[in-house]
């Protein structure tokens, strides 16, 4: 589509959706949420890798939801253990982990996607180690509470 010389801004809507550049006008503001800028960098990776990255993100999201479900189950179903407030602390710890995970999972997905677009090796992620350590600590906490309840 050619732009007539001296055309007024009133014609701008004509060019919407045509994919053509309106000469002399800046690019329209883009919504960073809808399409992050890094998605225009590098090359589109093999779709199988992108979909695998997406499924891993969803796996982390389900882990977060499972932690939240565990927190609710602890608060509703588990009887008060040895220490007063122990149940609340346990539930809050699970809920906090479940709340933090989705943000970390999104950031991890974006980092991996960006690395794939640039053909770089995937950056190391401490998420597995952190979640495993947190699970171990929570397990020890539960054992401790049960032990205290058993001695009373």
């Amino acid at each position: 589509m050619t732009v007539p010389p001296g055309a007024s801004d009133a014609l701008a809507p004509t060019y919407r959706g045509t994919g053509e550049q309106w000469p002399g006008r800046p690019d329209p503001p883009r919504l960073m949420i809808s399409r992050p800028r890094w998605q225009d960098e590098g090359e589109e990776p093999d779709y199988r890798f992108s979909l695998a990255n997406e499924r891993t993100f969803l796996g982390w999201l389900r882990t977060a939801l499972a932690l939240m479900a565990g927190a609710i189950a602890v608060s509703q179903l588990v009887p008060e253990m040895g220490l007063a407030g122990g149940r609340t602390v346990l539930g809050a710890a699970l809920a906090t982990a479940g709340t933090a995970l989705p943000a970390v999972a999104y950031r991890r997905w974006a980092r991996y996607q960006r690395a794939m677009r640039h053909g770089q090796p995937l950056p190391p992620s401490p998420m597995l180690l952190v979640v495993a350590a947190a699970g171990t600590v929570l397990g020890l906490l539960i054992l401790g509470l049960l032990a205290i309840a058993g001695f009373r």
């Binding site: 399409r35 992108s50 997406e54 969803l58 796996g59 609710i72 609340t88 999972a105």
Partner: protein
């Protein structure tokens, strides 16, 4: 663009649906929490979890396109918001 001939897209769709189901279960548990303890924050958290479950279950394009970043970000934010509501409910 080549159409997806393998099972990668189907596996990804199923992963979204599993996530939606998990979100629905959490929404029901939060609803029960709200009804049991008369906690309005739990109802709000349940609403967010329901919204996340609905978005996760919304059909994705059955081809080779990865899901837009906005959908991933939105679901993440909704689950995080739901979790914050849960923490507030447990703390109250």
């Amino acid at each position: 663009m080549t159409r997806e001939r393998g099972l990668q897209s189907e596996r990804t769709t199923l992963a979204w649906q599993r996530t939606g189901l998990a979100g629905g279960v959490v929404a029901l548990l939060l609803l029960r929490e709200g009804l049991t303890f008369h906690a309005p924050v739990a109802f709000a958290a349940a609403a967010l979890a329901t919204l996340a479950a609905g978005i996760a279950n919304w059909p994705r394009r059955p081809d080779t396109h990865p899901t837009p970043a906005a959908r991933l970000l939105l679901v993440s934010c909704l689950v995080t918001g739901s979790g914050l509501g849960l923490i507030a409910t447990l703390a109250s």
